[in-house]
């Protein structure tokens, strides 16, 4: 069975500061890892994914994520947060056919 943990319900950061949203996973075999973002009253939007290759993955809107196999983590990062980044962020791990999502982390960026 595969699972994802997002240990923080909410992350608060000031605009211009770096941000990190944490994710750890459990899966047998090679992990396929994803980050999605959800704005209010909207569906989830794809940010980035790790399938294989470089451990640092770059995605949409200036976000990136670092795959760490030894720590089974896939933390989402951004060097300089924007107020418009405030949203609900989901980490997911993929099996052959379906994705298992974490419970989500609310990111609040203050001006």
């Amino acid at each position: 069975a595969q699972s994802v943990a997002q240990p923080e319900d909410q992350v608060n950061v000031a605009e211009g500061n770096p941000l990190t949203v944490k994710c750890t996973y459990s899966v047998s075999g090679n992990p396929y890892l994803f980050w999605y973002v959800q704005y209010p009253n909207r569906g989830l939007q794809f940010l980035l994914k790790y399938i294989t290759g470089d451990n640092l993955v770059k995605g949409s809107y200036g976000f990136e994520a670092e795959f760490n196999k030894s720590q089974t983590s896939f933390h989402l990062k951004k060097p300089s947060a924007l107020v418009s980044d405030s949203a609900l962020y989901f980490c997911a791990v993929g099996g052959y056919s379906t994705l298992t999502f974490g419970k989500g982390t609310m990111l609040l960026v203050s001006p």
Partner: protein, 114 residues
């Protein structure tokens, strides 16, 4: 279409009534998924279609829930004899081939059972 379309966007129903939720995936996407999003619960997998067949329906919470897909396109999720605990946002997603390609989500149907 350009994106995944779900209807209705909002549905209020009385306890005990049946409801149908519709999902229109991106044209050509062979895989279709239903998830349920409840407050504080994240996304709960319900069912996965590949074409018209459902190789994984392990997430359907009870026999009151069923889903079908016709013509490899539109899918309908039906909830019979709705209960208050069915209140949630029901999200549909589609993907080209397997899930590793990533999903495109619809905006969801917010179901409220009163």
């Amino acid at each position: 279409g350009a994106g995944v379309s779900q209807s209705p966007s909002n549905k209020v129903t009385e306890k005990g009534k049946d409801v149908e939720l519709r999902c229109d995936p991106i044209s050509g996407h062979t895989a279709l998924y239903w998830y349920r999003q409840s407050l504080g619960q994240g996304l709960e997998f319900l069912i996965y279609f590949q074409g018209n067949s459902a190789p994984d329906k392990s997430g359907l919470p009870s026999d009151r829930f069923s889903a079908e897909r016709t013509g490899g396109s539109v899918s309908t999720l039906t909830i019979q004899r709705t209960q208050q605990e069915d209140s949630a946002v029901y999200l549909c997603a589609s993907s080209l081939g397997q899930g590793l390609a990533g999903y495109t989500f619809g905006s969801g149907t917010r179901l409220t059972v009163v």
